[in-house]
Amino acid sequence: MRYDSITEAIGNTPLVRIDPAVHGLRHIDLYAKLEMLNPFGSVKDRAAWNMARAALPGAGERGETVVELSSGNTAKALAVIAGMHGLPFKSVTNRMRIAEVKDLLLLLGAEIEELPGRSECLDPTDTEDPLTLFHQRLNESGGAHLHTDQYFNALNTEAHATGTGPEIVADLDGRAPDWFLACVGTAGSSTGVARALRAHDPAVRVIGLVGEKSDFIPGIRNIDEVHEVGLFDPATYDTIESVGADDAIDGMLTLVRRCGILAGPTGGAAYHGAVRHLQSLDAELTGPVRRTAVFIVCDRVESYLGYVKQRRPELMRRPPARNSVAALSDAEVRAAQVIEVADARKWIAAERPLVIDLRSSFAYAALHIDGSVNIVDELFDELVRGGLPFGKRQPVLLACPVGEQSARYAALLTRMGHPDVRSLAGGIIAWRDAGAPLVRD
């Protein structure tokens, strides 16, 4: 397929049937609408392009900056689109909790402004919450901004009412599905698709999925936050149900491990919410009539590795390293050779051991023992995994802040066969407190 511009590749995403052996529904065919296959990586490509397209030429003439309140995918799509049209892009957010997305936005040339947290010493008479101030600044006359306003912009909904929705109907051979399930972020995709499907068949049931209040799933709002969204209208949904972060990750694991769909947690939440909602309905169905349900897979898994690792570290388990301080027994650590500051000074003068400072380069640069070598602990840890990083005839003095870490590494090096490695007792702090010299090179 040949295109003149990447933006032409937005939309017309595949509708893929989930293997019934995976979801276990007997009478319902479950389809995933793979919005993750849009060119910039998410369902937001449609809204971003639809909101910006008509305004771009004018914005270019006036030298405006594209501005959006976004914590992720909309910002990503707008950053790309703005860049293609030679415009700067700024994302303002208090919700950007995914480090990878932040880095990607910076790579794309976006500017990010993060709104401050809640006040600790609250003044309830202060009505100037950061969001209000943001809107005031945008509305100031002479401000050179193209504010796409995804939470209130009807063009967001329209992108799905004219695109995503009709595509689903066409792929189901001209029929609307019996159920449509989507996570609610800006409410643009769920509202737009629901509108198109209902126009085709008023009987379609629409289920909105929101995050559990005490939890955080990227890209989904919780039941309170959806009320702050201009496009959100409770009447759009037959039911609103909530999904927890653990459920979202479980759903995501099913999609990535068993369905070949490399979905992010939002897609996982939609899958989990869909199967949970449909299970009891499926059990009541009898006879040969097949029903259909469609859910949206909003974006891809790669940006969320840190998010998953933090919540479910066991999913990324690694085999234990061969030479690791974690494998040492308490007895081995206690048996490590330690040397008091006064003796260490004499030893350094007499035998010139290699002095290794395990602190960060920042701390080392400020002050250190004269002649010492800085190998930060993380790096040292990797070095010793492969074997002794210096010869056995070279005596070594290890130093860390308080002498605990250095004792562990001394024990490890001893176990690895080094005959004379010692740990500075009490660390650099004891060295300083004893009045021994520290230098800055």
Partner: protein, 493 residues
Amino acid sequence: MDTGPLYLEPRLAPRLAALLGSPPFLHMLADALGSPLNVLLPDQAAENAEGFRSVYRRHRLGGQVFFAHKANRSRSLVRRLTTADAAVDVASVGELRRALGAGFTADRIMATGPKDPAFLWLAARSGATVNADGPGELEALADLVRRHGLPRPKVLLRLCEFETSGPRMLSRRSRFGTSVKALGPLLDLLDRHRDRVDPIGVAYHLDTTSADEKAIALEGCLRAMDDLRLRGFQPRVVDIGGGFGVSYLAHAAQWDRYTSELAAAVMGRRPPLTRGGHGYGLHAEGGTLRGALSLYPAHRPVAGAGYLDALLSQPAPTLGRALGTLLLESLYDLYTEPGRALADQCGLTLARVLEVRRTDAGPALVRLAMNANDVALEDHGILVDPVLVSREGGPAGPPEPVGVHLMGNLCLEADLITRRTVFLPRLPRVGDLLGFANTAGYCMDFGATHAQQQPLARTVAVRHTGGSWRWCLDEEYWPIEEYGPTSDSGGQA
């Protein structure tokens, strides 16, 4: 819509729970000393300080934990902390005198906040550390030292407006501190006054719950320490202020449910939860919820010492290593100034029920022998239910949840203890007490006034020992076992 009673039950640590579980004792106190009445548990403050110390130990950090005296003006908390592993942060000459009089030596006192000449003089004279706001204050201090031949005071430089690379973090502008961009001129000034003031480090205090903002400030301080060292100073203290927070509620689910229902009420989808439909910062506009909830996040999964632990474990934004590790390996001591978090669970405020009036429409009105200034929960946006402390001997009917409005004793329409409809397990009776739990941090006496000649609350210190409660007037409290008359009236220091 949720039609059940929307409770916001307070989180109660064992001491405070035991106190509220002793109605005869509380009624005896209120009968003798009147309503409102503040009741403090000084031993809890010492336990809280130990909680912070244990975080220091876990991160192998030295330094001090300063109780921000401004959170509570009582004597007993400060006196009790003299015998704990804690120090005190004073924000006025009066607080400084209190701290010295309580037995704190100057090495355990830090002077913060806006300072008048008397405050600066007494701080320098006594040898307290001065947390300096900016060049003006340093000049004034150096001048005082020169003119009066004072000992060279230790100073911390309070910094603000830390710069970030990458994403720009917006922070509320503070009226305190010197911008890090102006650190150069500040160091020039210190250079000129090298023999008059001794800069031992740098400080920040941010008014935010966001740990990310604080991480940026802490890293900024580490870099500023380097600048001090390059100028030939030997700094060794990084002071990260307070703002570690308190979790006021026992149950996250109650808070989640309450705030959802509050939003629904503002949207008109359920009857109001407040007198006059007040929205605590929220309002409805064309079917959409606008504004921001101006309430303290009353249930916080991580607060106090736990928050400090999380902050120290967080990686520095650009240096990458954990902030606590960077402090340790840079050989710096950590100073903190918790106020609210050290006063957590340290006391309650009692109020007598004077009148219960049923109304035709809406919740019953319960009038209390206190006013809104006596318990500043609402002023600080903290929503938490009072605990009903029944008077003994009344008929114990079956509990029947009820929503009430709490009225104060001022002749003023606005004198509501809270604008919220408060749900109680049963309707209070005249003579009952309501116990507002956990008011010791900023909510006990911060705004109390003599308006309309209504009495100010008396304050007592209590402790449970030998199977019974013992109490004394706050000003008579000393952290020693003996109670009863002492030779010093205690009120003069």
